[in-house]
Symmetry: none
Subunit: 417 residues, 2 copies
């Protein structure tokens, strides 16, 4: 099965709406081992729809269209498809009843345009929409399939899950793919590639595919192959090898976040967490608290942005701040240790750095960051040198601090070799 997604709507092209429909459809197909091959976004015009359909039917066998099924004049997808497939509209009694009920239930009067939502192309299979008035459509065409769906995300998803995917499985069967995605922190894609160069080539020769998906401080590394025992075995032992080679860096799989991974580890160990933050200004705590159920292990934080707060509240030695500077190993260690005691937690993360753009010096440039972790077994700290951009420096610091805690919880040695 080869799939193209066509999304119709000006709002997508001018950026008023982010195209989350396309990514959702792509990930649903991927789960079933089908890679969407193309996604095309076009305006609400007859000629663009017809041209996009011509092209799609020339290169794939399944076309999924979203958008343009509303009751207003600018929604032209249904009429265009009716002409394209050389059929005509007629009132579908089942749809009419559903639409009528829909309005009755909401105590709203039904306008003529709403009634028109029950007019369906004769030759299509109607895909039932329980959440709105725009039905989906399934057209069989020279062995290929065109599915048309409303653009409202929850209606589109509902129709595809309830009717679209089951019908596609019936028609094409399902060719399964197998893939795993590993999450790396604290190492760039080129360094990963360099450190697996000795095994990468033979895996490529075996037909596996790799993709590096980098974002600030993180790289997601995806390995894919066929859903065959051979490929599954190769991928599994490769993944094991990656865990072994990069214990400091590989923190999870799939959509794991570092904060979730840490949450699971703390829950397992029945340990609690807090933070004392300077340059990250609460972002470490915020990241932790965004995880559901974090209240069972996260107790609180002190954001000691100003030096007075570091001394008065956290009890950092004033003399050390004057002597070593707030961005120093001594201070970041005191922040973690004192925070651990004051907040009454098992583990405490600390951060202190120069996020920029101001505040840098030759000795301590923008991007210089110290992170610390105090725990039952003592305190450790690590120095980083990030870049020039405030937001990115904060993000990198948060991820590095969370990863340092993860390594500590798993007793992974993070000393530089």
């Amino acid at each position: 099965m080869k799939v193209e997604v066509i999304c119709i709507g000006d709002e997508l092209l001018i950026g008023q709406t982010v195209n989350t429909n396309a990514s959702w459809i792509g990930s649903e197909f991927a789960k079933q081992g089908v890679k969407v091959a193309f996604c095309t976004v076009i305006k609400d015009t007859v000629s663009d729809i017809v041209n996009a359909l011509d092209l799609a039917l020339s290169r794939v066998d399944t076309v999924v269209i979203t958008g343009g099924l509303g009751p207003t004049k600018d929604d032209i997808t249904k009429h265009t498809l009716t002409k394209y497939f050389n059929t005509e509209l007629e009132i579908n009694q089942e749809v009419l009843e559903r639409v009528t009920t829909y309005f009755k239930k909401r105590g709203r009067s039904m306008l003529d345009v709403n009634m028109q939502q029950a007019a369906m192309p004769k030759s299509c299979k109607v895909l039932r929409n329980d959440h709105g008035t725009a039905s989906g459509m399934w057209f069989d065409y020279e062995g290929k399939v065109v599915i048309s769906l409303p653009g409202v995300p929850h209606e589109m998803k509902h129709i595809l899950i309830e009717s679209g995917f089951p019908l596609l499985k019936e028609k094409f069967g399902s060719k399964a793919l197998y893939h795993r995605t590993l999450q790396f922190q604290g190492i760039g894609e080129s360094y990963i590639a360099d450190r697996i160069a000795d095994i990468e080539e033979s895996l490529v020769e075996a037909g596996l595919k790799f993709a590096y998906l980098p974002s600030a401080g993180l790289v997601r590394f995806r390995i894919s192959g066929a859903d065959s025992q051979r490929d599954i075995d190769i991928i599994s032992s490769f993944v094991d090898e990656l865990y072994e080679r990069f214990p400091e860096n590989v923190f999870g799989e799939g959509n794991d976040s570092l904060a979730e991974v840490i949450g699971r580890l703390l829950t397992e160990k029945e340990m609690t967490l807090g933070s004392v933050e300077s340059c990250t200004g609460g972002t470490v705590a915020s990241e932790i608290v965004h995880v559901q159920g974090s209240s069972s292990y996260f107790l609180g934080s002190i954001v000691s942005y100003a030096n007075e707060v570091k001394t008065n509240f956290v009890g950092v030695n004033e003399y050390d701040i004057i002597q070593q500077g707030a961005v120093s190993e001594t201070v970041v260690k005191q922040m973690a240790q004192n925070g651990r005691e004051k907040l009454g937690v098992d583990y405490c993360i600390s951060t202190s750095g120069i996020a920029g753009p101001g505040g840098g010096s030759e000795e301590k440039p923008v991007g210089l960051v110290w992170v610390g972790v105090a725990g039952p077994e003592g305190v450790s700290a690590r120095k980083f040198l990030f870049g020039d951009f405030r937001e990115r420096n904060i993000r990198m610091t948060v991820l590095s601090a969370l990863n340092l805690l993860r390594c500590k919880l798993l007793e992974i040695n993070t000393e530089k070799k």
Copy 2:
């Protein structure tokens, strides 16, 4: 100018990454009065890239490509474009210096693959990337333009803003548009529309266009017209009217964030700020600290997620927590007042709520939130009832709290009418 955006990357097609690049590019062109006509998402293969380029160059005159410029083997855009435009790669000295400096600054060794980032197609204009190692490229081709950019959002945006758009303006001129965007907090788009219905129609008749761009807790409202004195005058007096009608809600223009607006107000008044946060868990502080220069007015925060931290650290009355609950007017007011004293700040924001999904009850459901602000003139608090989604509830709470502070700083009455 007719524009097509081509996004290259499996991660977009299989839904691992949402295509925010396409929507950002679309909205930037829209601001300049140009509607993107097509957006095509394709895989990282030579034939798909070549076919997409052929098609794009047959129907538009400006093609913007994102993705596939990284240093690893799966990044093939540069090589494909080099062949497509019948040119060859050569080391560009300026780029080489930039890439070398990039690695030196970070104290990282440079690999051969990184060096290859300096090999550029001879016939292209190199678009400087100050944020990464993948340069942008500009190809002139039979009166048309192809721009190739990295897929990493902040690098792509930087290159397009600094080099791409200025060069496009030079080449194609620009049809002048005038627009202003107002930022609203705490009111939905349909309520804004309802409260301006009496003037909206005459403005539409005068040829002005409106766009509502909603996100959680915020609505950006864009008004556009021609760059003529007539339209500028109409829009200006309409904007004045909006400021007058929605003093509680309109907090800024353009890309203003609430945290920036508050930063400017505090700087003007030479006042300092702190926060005591429960349900937002540091996100208020994080939002404030992301603004450059915030260290001049933001001193620190206490994240009192657990009740022990609220009592031991912030000095909230334990009896009140037991009697009224942590999510109550009494507690949120004590958090703000005590935080103000303890942190030694002029203003202190406080938050307490049930973010969900757990922790709700009939009396205090998920989504119930209290926010407070204490200042020199006393303390005030406000209750909100948001929805079912944790992340959204946190976001709405942060924005509502910041806006309550803004209203307090500007002496705007926020009592419910």
